[in-house]
């Protein structure tokens, strides 16, 4: 097709294909920087050329082939200074691969490199957004609310550790896969969560990050169709994202799950999430993300907050606690217990949890105390919660709830 190709078409191709292109060139060159620069260069050429020639039949193949040739040129230029190893590589590279066909998807190897446990969690998130999602450094800096130089430095440091320590590009062996996959899924989940309730700032939700996380999870599911936990994570993210239109009111304030206008929920996302959860249940190999997805599915099933099947939710939390016996899961379970058995038993559970630095712990405690009519204690708990919250929208919400206490 030789219709008009404009900048946004090319940007769309970049978003969709740069991760794959970078991954395949990292494999080819064994170096992230060479791969990234070559892909950037190829897109720069595309911007000049495609408006005239139209999109090539396979834009992704065109990008990879062009980038590979540019990268080879660069290695050749730099290796003319006597690096025997690189000379040998060039001979191998030019002889062995003349045309890039429908290449094996290399993104999976690179995802495991980006989320390698030898890298810190912040570096894992940044590298994944950069190399797999194809975000530029300023975008990542904005998304994660750090300055551009800080993000640039973080990426440089992470990439130089990969190079110096020789962190491999490979999919882990079967016996290590569960562990390593967990860290990959955790990174994607972290990206989504940062979007779902931004750590700080004035907007509650950062849609860009939620969208990227869902896109990444779709890639993981596509690459590892047999991994139930990857599917579970996708269902969880879809079912959570489905509630987004109802989570914030017209004036930008937060609306709690129980008070949301459920007609605003995105039914297409719910349907997709439900279908995945049903298929996973048939498969019968549960895991923590699958259970969380099932919990989200129970919420999505209820036409009204009152119709929620809380006993099923408490059961699912019991199951989740067996996999991840953390105080946060116990807190969420207690919130469900409050709906099923009343605030008193829930408060008894909460009092035993060691979560004094977590703002939602105090918010949940305040809510239970409020329901029990213990207004003074509830006020204290709201105060603690407000002090610990860094997101402005959440803070406003808690302030309103504290103010409402005295209206009763």
């Amino acid at each position: 097709m030789t219709g008009a190709v404009n900048g946004s078409d090319i940007e769309r191709v970049f978003r969709a294909e740069s991760g794959r292109a970078v991954a395949s060139l990292v494999r080819f060159f064994g170096d992230i920087d060479i791969a990234e620069e070559a892909v950037q260069e190829a897109f720069a050429i595309a911007i000049q050329r495609w408006p005239e020639t139209g999109l090539p039949p396979s834009p992704a193949g065109w990008i990879i082939t062009t980038a590979r040739n540019r990268g080879l040129d660069r290695v050749r230029r730099e290796s003319s200074r006597n690096d025997r190893q690189q000379q040998a590589f060039l001979v191998y590279a030019t002889e062995a691969h003349t045309e890039v066909g429908p290449v094996e998807d290399e993104r999976l190897r690179l995802i495991f490199t980006c989320c390698h446990p030898a890298l810190g969690p912040e570096a894992q998130v940044a590298l994944t957004l950069r190399l797999i999602a194809g975000l530029q450094t300023p975008e990542i800096a904005r998304a994660l609310l750090v300055t551009e130089p800080t993000m640039g430095q973080r990426l440089v440091r992470a990439k130089s550790k990969i190079r110096a320590a020789n962190i491999p590009y490979r999919v882990p062996d079967d016996h290590e896969l569960p562990d390593r996959l967990r860290s990959v899924l955790a990174v994607v989940y972290l990206i989504f969560n940062e979007g779902h309730v931004a750590t700080s700032g004035h907007a509650l939700i950062r849609e860009d990050l939620c969208g990227e996380a869902i896109r990444l999870t779709r890639v993981l599911v596509e690459l590892m169709p047999d991994e139930g936990e990857a599917q579970g994570l996708l269902a969880l993210l879809l079912l959570t994202e489905a509630r987004r239109p109802a989570r914030v009111s017209a004036d930008g304030s937060l609306v709690r799950l129980g008070e949301q206008d459920r007609s605003l929920w995105n039914s297409a996302l719910i349907e997709e999430g439900h279908a995945i959860v049903r298929a996973l249940l048939r498969r019968g190999i549960p895991g923590p993300y699958q259970i969380q997805a099932a919990i989200a599915a129970v919420h999505a099933d209820a036409a009204t907050a009152e119709a929620t099947d809380w006993s099923q939710i408490v059961q699912l939390y019991d199951q989740l606690l067996m996999y991840t016996p953390t105080p946060i899961v116990a807190l969420n379970r207690a919130i469900a217990v409050a709906e099923l058995d009343g605030p008193e038993p829930a408060l008894a559970i909460i009092e035993q949890l060691d979560l004094g630095n977590f703002h939602l712990y105090h918010a949940a405690r305040a809510d239970l105390l409020e329901r029990l009519g213990r207004v003074d204690e509830a006020t204290d708990s709201y105060d603690r919660s407000i002090d610990l919250t860094t997101n402005m929208v959440e803070q406003d919400h808690l302030r309103r709830r504290r103010a409402d206490l005295h209206l009763h």
Partner: protein, 117 residues
């Protein structure tokens, strides 16, 4: 191939394992050494005397000064190390996992710089 330093870190003044526990550790480390040598990754390894046997030599105002060590004032001190040559970090981490179990102490894995060609 990359060369890695696997260093054994101990905390000074921490309780020393009982003699029979110590024998177990020696045996486990011996076995591991044999394994590393057999698989061809061995470069060098050794255990060190406690840090209070260390001496520090440095240049101060143009003079070479010798003083009682150790250099680092921290409580964590190097107790011994392996230098091994392996295909990548995953292989080094797998070996470090065996090493930390064998010598019952945390292991730090650090890559060596490439030899200048």
């Amino acid at each position: 191939m990359t060369q890695y330093l696997l260093s054994v870190h101990g905390v000074e003044g921490e309780e020393i394992p009982a003699p029979d526990e110590m024998q177990k550790i020696f045996k486990a480390v011996d076995d591991l050494n044999t394994k590393i040598q057999k698989q061809g990754s061995w470069v060098f390894a050794g255990g060190l005397h406690p840090a209070n046997t260390a001496t520090v030599v440095r240049v101060q105002n143009g003079d070479v000064v010798t003083s009682d060590g150790p250099f680092a004032e921290s409580k964590e001190q190097l107790g011994g190390f392996w230098i091994v040559e392996l295909p990548d970090l995953d292989a080094a981490l797998a070996l470090a996992a065996e090493a930390t179990v064998a010598c019952a102490a945390p292991i730090e894995v650090r890559p060596f710089q490439d030899e200048p060609s």
